[in-house]
């Protein structure tokens, strides 16, 4: 290695002819890492039969596919509207349920307020909720409760608990304990300590997480239908299988519309709840 810089400098002074220390010492580990990555990319490409000709043929096919999508055509307006409303319902119900459950779970998972025997199970639950993609959870729930929106609601609720619960717990772990101490010193019962010492400090961030999750649930609710858990996803998948590409296009456009509307809704919710806390935007 380079040795003590002071000694190197001293050596350079006493022996001017000696080799000057390098300003940019080589990092062989980093170089090896880059080479390994490049080698793996080449290897994986060869294994997956990813060739230039296939790509060019694919481009052609893609163009034909897009051609068949245009102009968009609403083949089954009733199915489309039903799918969209169901997706919206799934998203809102799942968000509500998820937020409701994640409040206590997040609180229990906060290590600065709770003893280890409470935080451990809560953290384990959160980790479990986070470990699977909503679609996988949806497949499990379809098996458990059957096809339809209920499975979608439950699947997205689980995802919401995982996401909000974790961020909520982290937010609580960053609060000022001085304010909590003061409320505790008044002889307040635990729930009042939470209501006055903890919640005011995390509420604006919690609202942020919740509206973000609503947004995310809205997007995911259009997808769980592919595995039969309700919503517009099922309609989309069916249209794909029937090669109704113009209808597919109409569905995709309406999903984009719904997501945008959701974005507006989420920012409205934020502004309502955070109206009195404008100064604390972090």
């Amino acid at each position: 290695m380079n040795g003590d810089p002071a000694r190197v400098a001293a050596k350079a002074l006493t022996h001017p002819a000696a080799v000057a220390p390098s300003a940019f010492p080589a990092n062989w580990w980093a170089r090896a890492g880059w080479i390994a990555l490049a080698a793996y990319v080449v290897y994986a490409t060869s294994r997956l039969d990813f060739t230039w000709t296939r790509f060019v043929v694919g481009l052609d096919q893609g163009a034909r596919f897009i051609g068949r999508m245009l102009p968009p055509r609403i083949a089954q307006p009733d199915t489309l509207v039903k799918g969209l409303t169901e997706s919206l319902e799934i998203a809102i119900l799942a968000s509500s349920l998820g937020i409701l459950v994640s409040l206590p779970v997040g609180l229990f998972a906060a290590r600065n307020l709770m003893p280890a025997w409470v935080t451990w199970p809560a953290r384990a639950l959160i980790a479990m909720c986070r470990s699977f993609h909503p679609v996988i959870v949806a497949i499990l729930f379809v098996k458990a409760v059957g096809f339809g929106a209920l499975a979608g609601i439950l699947a997205l609720s689980v995802a919401s608990v995982g996401f909000i619960g974790k961020l909520f717990a982290d937010a609580i772990e960053e609060i000022s304990l001085k304010q909590v101490e003061a409320v505790r010193a008044t002889g307040a019962p635990f729930l009042s300590v939470v209501g006055y010492g903890v919640m005011p400090q995390v509420f604006s961030r919690f609202t942020g997480f919740a509206t973000y999750q609503l947004d995310s649930n809205l997007r995911n609710s259009t997808m769980v239908g592919i595995v039969g858990a309700g919503g517009i996803g099922g309609t989309l998948f069916a249209a794909f299988q029937r090669f109704d590409y113009d209808f597919v296009c109409a569905i995709l456009l309406s999903i984009i519309g719904m997501i945008m509307a959701g974005e507006v809704l989420a920012s409205w919710v934020r502004s309502v709840f955070l109206e009195r806390g404008k100064v604390d935007e972090e």
Partner: protein
């Protein structure tokens, strides 16, 4: 001499085993007047105050308040004892994002159920008293402002008002003026003395400003290295005594 509001017997605290911060403190705090605890930083003044309402758990000793030993109470009983002990903090410790009124009413949390507190359904008498108290501390027009919009002096006024809202039988103050300028410090101490004298609430206050302590306290307890080295009238604080408390002498003018 009046009755004792608080009796400490052999109160000790060790944060790390074998390194006591408090060495068996024994004190009697009478049921009125201001008792100032002075001493250098890190001498355990703050720990002493926090051991009384068990924001810090004492390692050994008794804290006799209202006829019972606080050090031995279970959670429920401790909560009931804390309701009767107001506390004022160095950094005010207001709930920043709540309004001044909500902060004041949080002094009543020990008496109001969590649900009613959550819904802000306080008894009308509490709310009336809160408004009157805000008037007393000169913040009548600030009731609906958020605590984090106030200046330091204003915050400490709210802190004192919150403690008084508890209708405490003892007020603890942990360096209440250390974050304030000299003029505001005097105002805060005057306010505290006024409010507590009116209501006959005894005050136990930590300070490191000797002059301020002399000016406002009826009794001074000097601590050094976790032990009481002086206990008496402010007038008895001679240079000798100050040397015993703080060590050295160059700083004494």
């Amino acid at each position: 001499m009046s009755a004792a509001a608080l009796v400490l017997r052999g109160l000790s605290k060790e944060y790390a085993k074998g390194k006591p911060v408090l060495h068996g403190i024994s004190l009697e705090i009478s049921d009125r007047g201001i008792t100032a605890i002075i001493g250098p930083s890190g001498t355990g003044k703050s720990t002493l105050i926090r051991c009384i309402n068990r924001l810090v758990e004492p390692t050994a000793g008794e804290v006799i308040f209202g006829g019972q030993d606080i050090a031995k109470l279970d959670r429920k009983a401790l909560r009931l004892a804390r309701r009767q002990i107001g506390m004022v903090f160095q950094e005010y410790n207001l709930v920043e994002r709540l309004t001044v009124m909500e902060n004041l009413l949080s002094g009543r949390l020990g008496y109001v159920s969590p649900l009613r507190a959550w819904l802000r359904r306080y008894p009308p008498a509490d709310i009336e008293r809160a408004f009157a108290l805000l008037e007393n501390v000169g913040l009548a027009s600030y009731a609906n402002q958020r605590a984090d919009s106030l200046s330091g002096g204003q915050r400490q006024r709210v802190g004192i008002a919150r403690a008084i809202m508890q209708e405490p039988r003892l007020l603890l103050a942990d360096e209440p003026t250390s974050s304030l300028d000299p003029k505001t410090s005097v105002e805060i101490m005057s306010l505290m003395r006024e409010l507590c004298t009116e209501r006959a609430i005894p005050v136990m206050v930590n300070m490191h400003d000797v002059e301020l302590a002399k000016r406002f306290a009826d009794r001074i307890v000097g601590m050094s290295d976790g032990s009481v080295v002086y206990d008496g009238a402010p007038g008895g604080l001679s240079d000798e005594v100050l040397k015993a408390i703080y060590g050295g002498e160059d700083w004494i003018a």
